[in-house]
Point group: C2
Chain length 355, copies 2
Amino acid sequence: MKNVKVILWGLGAMGGGIGKMLAKKQGVDIVGAIDIGAKLGKSLYEVVPGIERGDREDVIVATAEEVIKPGAADIVVVCTNSFTKDVFDKLVYVMERGMNVITSAEEMAYPQAQEPELAKKLDEIAKANNVSVMGTGINPGLIMDLLVVLWTAACEEVNHVTSRRVNSLSPFGPAVMEEQGIGISVEEFEARKADGTMAGHVGFAESTMMICDALGWEWSKENFGQDMEAIVTDVDRKSPYGFAAAGSVAGVAMKGWVDINGERKIDMDHPQQIEPEQVGVHTGDYVILDAVPPVNMANSPEIEGGIGTMAMIMNCIPHCINADAGLITMLDIPVPHAIMGDFRNLIKEDKKIVK
Amino acid sequence: MKNVKVILWGLGAMGGGIGKMLAKKQGVDIVGAIDIGAKLGKSLYEVVPGIERGDREDVIVATAEEVIKPGAADIVVVCTNSFTKDVFDKLVYVMERGMNVITSAEEMAYPQAQEPELAKKLDEIAKANNVSVMGTGINPGLIMDLLVVLWTAACEEVNHVTSRRVNSLSPFGPAVMEEQGIGISVEEFEARKADGTMAGHVGFAESTMMICDALGWEWSKENFGQDMEAIVTDVDRKSPYGFAAAGSVAGVAMKGWVDINGERKIDMDHPQQIEPEQVGVHTGDYVILDAVPPVNMANSPEIEGGIGTMAMIMNCIPHCINADAGLITMLDIPVPHAIMGDFRNLIKEDKKIVK
């Protein structure tokens, strides 16, 4: 079998990082790279920091029109957007040229939640072109949803789910500091929250609907809710790219929930802040099930989000290629896992596009 | 769609317990029950303690020949044995009559490990009859293998796996007390260990091969090893069905490992004992990955093994029915989960046997 052929669409921190990981793996080749602006015409191995070319053929960054052609690859990895409506045209463009596509867009981890009509269209277009389309990441995609789902497999009954991720924003760069309002005043936080420019976490609708669909609880926009609160620091906190003076915002605490027939079934808790250790906050991932039998899981400290998301996307490449045609989710594919051997060993012969 | 139709083969603690769980669920019917001896000719609802009949039709316990007939059910749940070679004929008997089959036999969680030839035959017979066969449970099946596999999905590289389950044997009955040597002397333990009559835990070969096959590490009987040690108590310990005087055996500490090219890749740790709390031992399930990024997960106390295994088998029924024909494992099916809704919503129309 020929090596698995991958095209990267988007060479930012996420797409470039996945490229760097893929370049270390066996049985997989990066055969195309798409970006815009100053990166065009340059070598992938020059544009992505730290990626090792080894004795590979060069890959020149080009436009989608130049790279996305029928039979060019087995899969395209699209890391350009967070929202389904923004990434939709790119996904369709790939599928209509007969290739599978996987994306880091958070909403695409379960697009049925916020974009049911676009999800239906993606499913139809995928089936019409005999390819599959999916989105994943560490959250949504694993920690606050698929991991919860797996734990319930040992349960006869589940009454209530608490899914909690307490993480540090310190490793992230200036863009995340700005998005999460690090260092702004409480008044500014409230103003931005009111006018909808506080990003917070994208994914609770997706994660909760995934859990509900798995368990057989009826999710709807009406029984789902979320809110955010400023994490105000009592002391000055300084991270590599952020600073929050005492009294200002050091992070955002997101909460989400699902109520069914007036009963709380799911609580999602996701406080994110810079330098939590400085004030004695222990970070971690938690799955707490009021269930038969109960579950009380902690992963501490939290698993790292940046590498984790890149790894999840890379590790789902074989599953996306192997899947039946259509829009697929984490509930449809076999359990994902790290790939320490040859990518080709994980690919079904009849699903390989580049023979 | 008609309700999912299930036959129970074996009505002991495990098979009967699964029946009791199934009787509480929607969209699923127990349509047959098989056992031997005094249970024959009696009502399932009389034979299984605590099972609720409700307004269901009665089910009379009968022989396999009377119950296992083509089209009788969508799946047969076989809870009669621990080892593949002992349960093999029953699995074949079901498949040759055109039904899917799932079993609690520990070795069947990954029969490729200890019985590769029987596994090959099961796969062939399943495919010839267009049905699927699988085994699962909480361990092997979830806690020390599939859960580990899922955590690696967030990892770029995995260097070493520690999978640990520290559990209490106190909830178990006289048979387990005897099997695990509770209360015997250290000399007797060593004698039984030497002549192979100390059961210990069945599953390390299966769990480690599952992890290796997922990650792409080469597992073989030569690179796998296991051993057991007596847990000798310093104080008298008394559980509902067991007693270990000070100086005697209160449990068994099983260890397993995989070395690849002289390097330790997997360590399995599974100390089981009565009344661990009495001597300050905290029970729990642990996944510790020396990986990029690292994982340090604890579920404490451990998830309960008895209910957990029954739930795993019940919850995998839809996955087994939906699977492509053949011998399937936890690595092949979508992630299992609790079923709080209607079983029928989880079944693919074209895979339903009893239309």
